[in-house]
Amino acid sequence: MNERSFDKLIRDRLKDHESAVPADMWRRIHHKEEDDRKFFFLWPWLAVVAVVAILSLLAGRILHNPAMPRSVNLSSAHLANSPVRKASTTASSIPSMRLATTSPRPAMPSSNSKSRPLRPTKTPSFLPPAPDLSHPPDLSHAPDPSPTPGQFALSAVAVQLPQHPLFRSAPIFAKPLPGGKPNPIPCWDPTRSSHPGTWSLSVYGASGLSTGAPNRAILYGAGFLLRKDLMAGLSVAAGLQYSWISIKGLTDSLAPFGGHFMNVDLPALAGYEKTYSNFSAAVDAGIIINLHSTPEGRYAAFQNLYRSSTGISMYLGLRFTKELDDRLSLFAAPYYRRQLSDPSGNNAPLAQTFNIGGLLIGIKYNFSGRSKQ
């Protein structure tokens, strides 16, 4: 009997043979699948909980820092040189100054009969007592940064958090609450928001993990984004990204293991950014256009089954930026990227679709610099 006959006999013998399956096999599969499904539905919530926990921690550290005096930034040279200073050095003479004070004292008589008296405000229990504003500190040695008229009011009501490392470099603008109550929550600082026409360059490293079967992919990459600030925190960005996507998961066909794709992408994003002192949070959304996708390694054998481009993906991400100085910033951006189409056909051993969640970490260089804005 030759080899071919031997092979055929074995093939025919085993072709339709059915083996006994353990009685509890279905129960094992069902339980395992239920466990996997619970975990799959759980992890997005875990991510949300983690983000909320981080933000709560950050807010807690800002608001409950025992070393953080709640002093009015009367050392500002704006105040020293201002007409308001000449008229009266009491906080009650400046209506907007009520925003930043936490004094429980009754309002002092105003030198200006048209201005409304400062009503008593109650100090929140978690805040230390407010300083006596009737005796402002000596302002004669304060530097003069020559503020614009528009900046004056902001500086006059700014709350300093000098002990907190996050906010040493800049004051936080305290937005008024209705009724003249002090607002302890750090708010958007319009003096440090994006300025129309400002360009910046971000260089980043990317990592990511696909979100489910059949493509359990790991992504590593690097890229750059050129961003232009438009107005009111809005910006647009475009760049290039090179990524290496390793596939190790289940395919819809018998596929080789451990192959990878080399992708070159063009991200085109729009962002909305809120700046808090030297920290900012942003939402980015847009599309990623794949310029070229190449199967490498063991996938190279199936190159003819794949398209040279995987098409368009949707991108949604958050971006948290910490200023290092007036030009450089460090940022981290958790993101989710969903591919809109599967360019590979059913014949390809592996679907060429990558829905990936991950993290970008990088450095942003602001061409104009904050000081010049």
Binding site: E18, I29, P256
Partner: protein
């Protein structure tokens, strides 16, 4: 339920449909798992993992070609992945392969499928994997080489050794009368 309805039910994660699908194909897929596994415990683990993969990726089936063929590919893929986890080394032949014992077709007929499965399970992991992919699944050596990250020459030598060992084992089963040699 028709096969189409069964698949749609599985896509909706209906447990009753999943169970029906499992009961329909489990026996045949268990045979596939046993062919690629060294023992029954490993075959059971492979079958369990395979059906979890089938249920999680059933959305990928596009009603093109045989559904059983699609399931079988996933089972084979899962089995190979489990073998690769063991870090099997596929080594080429160091020297000439001696001739395999000559076996007549009637000799194979004396072996039951269960006995044949048992003999295949006794083959070393590398021999068994290549033998199954080539002889039973019908892949050629270049495809096997791509799947297992080996050279086509290594695939050929693994197959030759697998045949030799299997035929020797069949002979050793004493199912073969002397006049068949």
């Amino acid at each position: 339920l028709t096969e189409h309805e069964l698949i749609e039910g599985c896509r909706k994660k209906i447990a009753k449909c999943q169970r029906s699908l499992f009961e329909k194909y489990a026996g045949r897929m268990m045979t596939v798992c046993r062919r690629y596994s060294c023992d029954h415990k490993e075959a059971e683990d492979t079958l369990q993992e395979s059906f979890i993969n089938i249920f999680s990726s059933i959305d990928q089936y596009r009603f093109e070609g045989s559904f059983e063929g699609w399931i079988r590919k996933i089972v084979i893929h899962t089995a190979i992945r489990m073998i690769q986890r063991k870090k099997v080394h596929f080594t080429g032949l160091a020297g000439d392969v001696e001739d395999a014992p000559v076996i007549d077709a009637d000799a194979l007929d004396q072996l039951s499928a269960e006995e044949l499965l048992s003999l295949i399970s006794n083959l070393p992991d590398g021999y068994r994997t290549v033998f199954n992919l080539y002889v039973v699944e019908g892949y050629d050596h270049s495809e096997i080489a791509a799947m297992l990250d080996i050279t086509p020459a290594t695939s050929r030598s693994q197959l030759l050794k697998a045949r030799l060992l299997l035929q020797t084992q069949i002979k050793a089963q004493k199912k073969i009368p002397e006049n068949y040699e």
